[in-house]
């Protein structure tokens, strides 16, 4: 292996721009445009990896980024297919899965024990005796797996992009280029997605003198000139998802493309062939060889044998001759080789032996192929053995219909062409060219144009039906070209006959599995692991199906194929994620808390002050004087319209018909199974204007809930989530009225603005919405203001409160204060099966209104009677049991503690717990198991603090 002395004109490599990189500590010279693989090959490195199970040497095989043979660690990234990875200066490349190197691998010893490892062997041993399994498992795990995770975070930056297009064409080969042009000429905006770094597909890496090569250069020119075609190269469409959304990966970026129509023109996936030692380095697929020669100017061997099954194979042989490689023989699986072809004439003129009806039977060599044995396809007759260092397989391939299959299409087996063709395509999906089973050189272009025009039909104003019909008739006039041989398996030959190179599964393994009863393609795959490897069956699925059909005396169609699952190629977590942002939401008063040195904690997405001094001091301020807490994180939903009451009556268990303007009410929402899921207040600001607050974490869910219950009804309600438009504070404590009074001309007299009242008006010149409510159990005003006034509002209130020694208080104090009042927190004191009757919310359930969500379930629950209840408790000896500990009776758990705190004001440890309803009576003792100790507590069924609520109403 070396560089060609004169590179072909089609080369991508710029020999005047040298680069260097490191491979296993060795310096490798490369040139701009080289892939890591082409540079390694040019430097004589031919063993690229060791196989998964037997650690057999493996070399360059498919050259198109699918097979597992060239996976290496590149700059810290595991499992990079180096045949598709461009060289960058200074790259560090390392081998994988071999100790110490692919050339000499100690683990190759496993080959000697292959008789111990038939298909599924691990299901039959290692489990006896039972205690040995973990020991065996430890070892099995060590030898499995390819890439290494070292715990270091790779330094790369990832991105995500969102695009739209009328038509996306997947594949920039001849049919894809024609399709893109067709669609673009029909007026569509087109995005062309091509896996390679260049356009032109397999025509582009044919000999530069070939007609195909010239055609795609011309097509590329036209495509590039079109302003309505966006070209993405080095980009792989990995998934076709619901709603014609294409997932595309381009290096470290994911592109999501929403398309109206999708044309899949992704060509064929060339297949290897099953014969003895078919995995030796030096055995390559035809397209890999053409790429090396015509794109990278690298000579893959000195003396080659080519085995083909179609005219494309002849072109490969001719290309080898052009590049100065000796071709020892050309074997073709077909009965007849067409003498009139230019390539055949060339082969003949160079004296290459042409062997029809001949195939490879086995290969020989230890670390590299040394010779190949050819024999008749039919299996009977003479074999011949030829020395060579390169065996080229050009025996057809499978239409790449994975994407349309993901989109709902089914693959139907075409007996005559020996390939699966996609039919029953999903809406807006089209297939063209090689991937559509159209392999004739001219037809590929016609079929591409047909698909492009068809895809654009109806998007623009011009109708192209006539041209499409014309193209179709021209297509049917062209001869059908068959690429694939009838069988994928050689008649008998010695050596391991690999079906699946990824998983080291041989023909014998597949047959064994079938004999054991795994004779359907799905079970066969799972048991033998054929097609479960890094290429996901791209290289082996057809041979496996063929063998399965043969062994079970079924046709291929009867045997069927497995379902193609996304992604089409393996794709990095980084690219899928893009930049992993974790933005915080800060409250509008945030800077003030920071200035006060508050302890700020992360609650959900929000940063909130947990504490400014300590709960004892903060709660004393609230009880005795006045305190201020930010409540900006509350959810807020604005509701307007003539039917708001109807909507509220539906989503809340409470009744809303009698709520007067200027009043607010506590409300509870249940789902349709009667489970409590959110609570908050809802105020009537105007005749047809309501303002709802929800829990901090619940607002998005509640908003969705409201809109989804509105959908399909003719309710006249306008629902707006205004959470981030407002900030809010709660001024609480006996002096709260005086503080607020200094800032507003609103009449705060309890007659005018009573408990559970609401008003709109100015506070310190800012338009606000005010509620008089008492979550923390004292006289309190919740003031909501436009969020950009946050700092101003905080400052003026703190200023006005100075004379009353106002104190800010944090979330922790609020938790204690609310617990003193036995106010529950949904999701903490309730769980996913709590109904309102159990949670002391029976008073809120209004069975006498027409209907509400959850009514039926709550009604049934009421009929059955309540078995457990949420109650308060006080521990006898002041312990604070941990939240989540269990309430015990006779050794069984009968309930659990949901909230518990020490209340400095009451000087008691209090909490809420679930207990059997029979115990839900004042003074009942309960036993709590906390940290392995027993805590005795007494049940309290009313608020611990100010049970009559005189203080907040006062």
């Amino acid at each position: 292996m070396s560089r060609l002395s004169t590179p072909p004109s089609s080369t991508l490599v710029n020999r005047s721009k040298p680069l260097v990189f490191e491979y296993n500590g060795r310096r490798i010279d490369a040139c701009e445009g080289d892939t890591v693989a082409s540079a390694l090959m040019a430097s004589g490195v031919d063993i690229l990896s060791r196989s998964f199970k037997y650690h057999r040497p493996r070399g360059h095989l498919c050259g198109e980024g699918h097979c597992p043979n060239c996976m290496m660690n590149v700059d810290g990234s595991p499992n990079v297919r180096i045949c598709s990875e461009k060289v960058c200066n200074g790259m560090v490349v390392k081998h994988q899965n071999a100790i110490p190197s692919p050339e000499f691998d100690l683990l190759a010893i496993t080959q000697k024990f292959d008789f111990l490892m038939p298909a599924g062997f691990y299901y039959k041993i290692f489990h006896k005796p039972r205690f040995m399994w973990p020991v065996f498992e430890h070892f099995i795990r060590k030898v499995a797996g390819l890439g290494v995770v070292d715990g270091k975070t790779p330094p790369y930056r990832y991105e995500r992009q969102h695009l739209r297009a009328d038509v996306v064409v997947v594949g920039g080969g001849p049919s894809g280029l024609s399709a893109a042009l067709g669609a673009a000429e029909a007026g569509a905006s087109v995005t062309l997605v091509e896996q390679d770094s260049f356009l032109g597909g397999h025509f582009r890496f044919q000999n530069p003198e070939s007609s195909g090569f010239k055609k795609v250069l011309e097509l590329e020119k036209q495509v590039r000139a079109k302003s309505n075609i966006r070209v993405l190269t080095g980009a792989v469409a990995f998934g076709l998802y619901e709603g014609n959304m294409l997932g595309v990966v381009q290096g470290r970026r994911t592109v999501r493309i929403r398309a109206k129509r999708v044309v899949v023109a992704s060509g064929i996936l060339e297949r290897p062939f099953v014969f003895g030692n078919n995995d030796l380095p030096g055995i390559m697929l035809g397209r890999a060889v053409q790429r090396l020669l015509n794109l990278y100017g690298v000579q893959p061997g000195k003396r080659a044998v080519v085995v083909g099954s179609n005219d494309r194979a002849l072109d490969v042989a001719a290309d080898l001759l052009h590049a100065g490689v000796e071709v020892a023989a050309y074997a073709d699986q077909r009965e007849r080789i067409n003498d009139s072809l230019e390539s055949v004439k060339l082969l003949k003129s160079k004296g290459v032996a042409l062997l029809p009806a001949t195939t490879a039977v086995s290969a020989d060599g230890k670390m590299h192929i040394r010779s190949v044995t050819l024999g008749p396809v039919a299996g009977r007759g003479e074999n011949i053995r030829l020395d060579c260092d390169l065996l080229v397989l050009s025996v057809g391939g499978d239409p790449a219909i994975h994407l349309v299959q993901q989109g709902g299409a089914r693959g139907f087996f075409e007996e005559h062409r020996v390939e699966f063709i996609a039919k029953r395509l999903g809406e807006g999906h089209f297939v063209a060219g090689d991937s559509n089973g159209v392999h004739h050189e001219d037809s590929i272009l016609l079929d591409g144009r047909r698909a492009g025009l068809a895809a654009a039909q109806g998007l623009g104003s011009v109708d192209h039906a006539a041209e499409i019909a014309d193209l179709e008739s021209r297509l049917s006039a062209n001869p059908a070209v068959v690429l694939n041989p009838k069988t994928m398996v050689a008649p008998d030959g010695s050596g391991k006959r690999f079906v699946c190179v990824c998983e080291d599964v041989t023909e014998k393994d597949v047959c064994d599995a079938i004999r054991e009863g795994f004779d359907g393609i799905e079970t066969l795959k799972r048991y033998s692991t054929v097609s479960m490897g890094p290429c996901q069956g791209k290289m082996c699925q057809m041979s496996a199906i063929g063998i399965c059909a043969r062994e079970t005396n079924r046709t291929i169609e009867e045997t069927g194929s497995t379902v193609s699952r996304p992604p089409f190629i393996p794709i990095t977590l980084g690219a899928l994620t893009g930049r992993n942002y974790h933005p915080h939401k800060t409250v509008p008063t945030h800077s003030r808390h920071a200035a006060l040195n508050a302890k700020v904690i992360s609650l959900g997405d929000w940063l909130r002050p947990e504490m400014y001094s300590n709960p004892a001091e903060e709660s004393r301020a609230v009880h005795e004087r006045v305190g201020l807490i930010d409540v900006s994180t509350l959810g807020r939903i604005d509701l307007r319209g003539t039917d708001v009451v109807k909507l509220l009556d539906k989503v809340y268990i409470n009744s809303w018909g009698n709520l007067k303007v200027g009043r607010t009410r506590y409300g509870v929402m249940c789902d349709d199974t009667g489970i409590v899921f959110d609570d908050g207040t809802c105020a009537r600001l105007g005749d047809q204007h309501y303002f709802m607050t929800t829990t901090t974490s619940g607002v998005d869910g509640v908003y969705q809930w409201l809109t989804s219950w509105m959908a399909g009804t003719s309710l006249d309600v306008c629902v707006t989530n205004v959470t981030s438009g407002y900030g809010g504070v709660n001024i609480a404590g006996p002096r709260a009225k005086e503080v607020l009074g200094k800032l507003t001309s609103l009449n705060l007299d309890s007659k005018e603005f009573p408990y559970m009242g609401c008003v709109q008006g100015q506070v310190a010149g800012v338009p606000c919405i005010l509620f008089r409510i008492g979550f923390v159990g004292e006289l309190g005003y919740e003031v909501h203001f436009p969020s950009f006034y946050g700092e101003y509002m905080w400052d003026v209130i703190m200023d006005a409160g100075k004379e009353f020694d106002i104190r800010p208080f944090g979330v922790e104090t609020q938790r204690i204060l609310r617990l003193q009042k036995s106010h529950i927190i949904i999701g903490q004191d309730t769980d996913a099966i709590t109904n309102p009757l159990e949670a002391n919310l029976a008073w809120a359930v209004k069975f006498d209104k027409p209907d509400f969500i959850g009514r039926r379930a709550i009604f049934e629950a009421k009929k059955q009677g309540i078995k457990k209840s949420l109650v308060g408790f006080v521990t006898r000896h002041g312990e604070v049991p941990e939240e989540g500990t269990q309430v015990m009776e006779n050794g069984y758990s009968v309930g659990r503690v949901t909230s518990a705190r020490f209340s400095p004001h009451l000087n008691k440890s209090i909490g809420l717990a679930w207990v059997p309803t029979a115990r839900a009576k004042d003074g009942q003792p309960i036993l709590i198991r906390s940290k392995g100790e027993w805590v005795i507590a007494d049940v309290v069924t009313h608020p611990f603090y100010d049970p009559e609520g005189a203080r907040m109403k006062g």
Partner: protein, 405 residues
């Protein structure tokens, strides 16, 4: 000598349909197979046919992420799943098939105060019931999983975890095949590609089953069709409180072992384990909409990547290899529905397996077999009876926020 490694004996044979069976089981996933297995093994009832419309394991039993654990939340759930775990521990020997039960531990992370409370609740309940399960601190998490990053997501740092050493993962296909072979050896008939189209009753009792291959008589019909349970129950006019949702999963390319325990984070919506092959197996919550669709979605794949990177930023260059979807029958309380159905004699439910039914296969099979053989509902599964939904007696496995695999 090593003949047992490769033999010609079929795992299960093909049969023509008989005209009648004592027990017909609809669905040959793990639940159907285990039921048949224990019917034959524990009770000598072998006149049993298993019908599946697809290949063996075509349903959720071939699509799940195979997490096994017993650290449930309720006094009803814990002993039930614990019995299953114990059966699993002995199953390889019992079936003489290596089902690769890998008890490398199960770790549930908490990232919020409320999350910590939820885990403590389970730890306490587990300890009371004798389950090896306890709360551990972040430092210990780091010891168990050195590659984890405890605070790469600043909103949701790891605050504590629930550590359950007996938990782990299993080779789910092997369990299916092992049970199938066991059933076959004892004379149970397995009929793949046989779809049940109707269940015929007379005078409130099951009479026969109509399939695409003909009609067969049956004394008992067991509904073991996770994902389609409500459609089968409809055949005898039984309404089930079930909604069906897709659940997706994906795997990465195989990597050298670096992750021993199963890791679950409900706050980050992710769970992950590393299989013996080296692949990371990843799942999230059910899709938020109900559907019978098996189509994978891109948001799932993106979410899985993003959330996994929250815990393991070092994995950004690791690649996803394959994604897929299955469907799950969800009940309101995240507990199954098992037992006889009033009004339809001979019709038995073993359904509502949601996202957590694989681990329950052995115990369900054993106890449903007992129920058929004795005509009595075993105490262990009584809490899961259908009528609990009408008796306000739910089994609260669905905590406020839980990933329930």
């Amino acid at each position: 000598m090593l003949n047992f490694l490769s033999n010609d004996k079929k795992m299960w044979r093909r049969h023509t349909l008989k005209s009648s069976y004592e027990v017909v089981i609809v669905g040959a996933g793990i639940h159907g197979l285990a039921t048949a297995y224990y019917l034959a093994k524990n009770h000598g009832i072998t006149d049993v046919a298993l019908f599946d419309k697809g290949y063996l394991g075509a349903g959720a039993s071939g699509r799940n992420t195979a997490i096994i654990r017993a650290n449930y939340r309720t006094a009803e759930g814990v002993p039930f799943y614990e019995e299953s775990l114990k059966l699993y521990e002995d199953l390889a020997r019992d079936l003489d098939y290596n089902i690769m039960f890998s008890q490398r531990g199960h770790l549930t992370l908490a990232h919020t105060d409320r999350g910590v409370t939820g885990l403590r609740e389970r730890a306490e309940m587990n300890q009371i019931l004798g389950i090896n399960s306890s709360m551990i601190k972040p430092e210990r998490v780091k010891q168990l999983v050195p590659t984890i990053c405890l605070d790469s997501n600043p909103h949701y740092p790891v605050m504590a975890a629930l550590w359950h050493p007996p938990g782990g993962v299993i080779r789910h296909d092997a369990v299916v095949w092992g049970y199938a072979r066991g059933c076959d050896q004892m004379g149970v008939q397995i009929h793949p590609f046989t779809e049940v189209k109707a269940i015929n009753t007379r005078d409130g009792a099951v009479q026969s089953v109509t399939t695409n291959r003909g009609e067969v008589k049956a004394k008992f019909v067991v509904n073991c069709t996770a994902g389609h349970a409500s459609t089968i129950a409809q055949m005898v006019n039984v309404d089930l409180p079930i909604t069906t949702h897709p659940l997706q999963a994906c795997v990465t390319e195989p990597l050298k072992p670096f992750l021993d325990p199963v890791i679950v984070s409900s706050t980050l919506h992710i769970y992950v384990s590393q299989s013996d092959r080296g692949e990371l197996v990843i799942g999230q919550e059910i899709d938020p909409f109900s559907s019978y669709s098996f189509r994978s979605t891109l948001p799932f794949l993106e979410g899985a990547a993003m959330h996994l990177l929250d815990l393991f930023p070092c994995l950004s260059e690791v690649r996803f290899l394959r994604q897929w979807a299955g469907i799950c029958d969800m009940t309101p309380d995240y507990s199954p529905i098992m037992g006889f159905v009033e009004g339809v004699d001979g019709f038995i439910l073993d359904v509502g397996w949601g996202t957590y039914g694989f681990k329950a296969g052995p115990v369900s099979g054993k106890r449903i077999a007992e129920l058929i053989a004795t005509r009595k509902t075993p105490n262990l599964i009584r809490p899961f009876r259908l009528s609990r939904f009408y008796e306000n007696d739910l089994v609260g496995e669905k905590a406020a926020a839980s990933v329930s695999h």
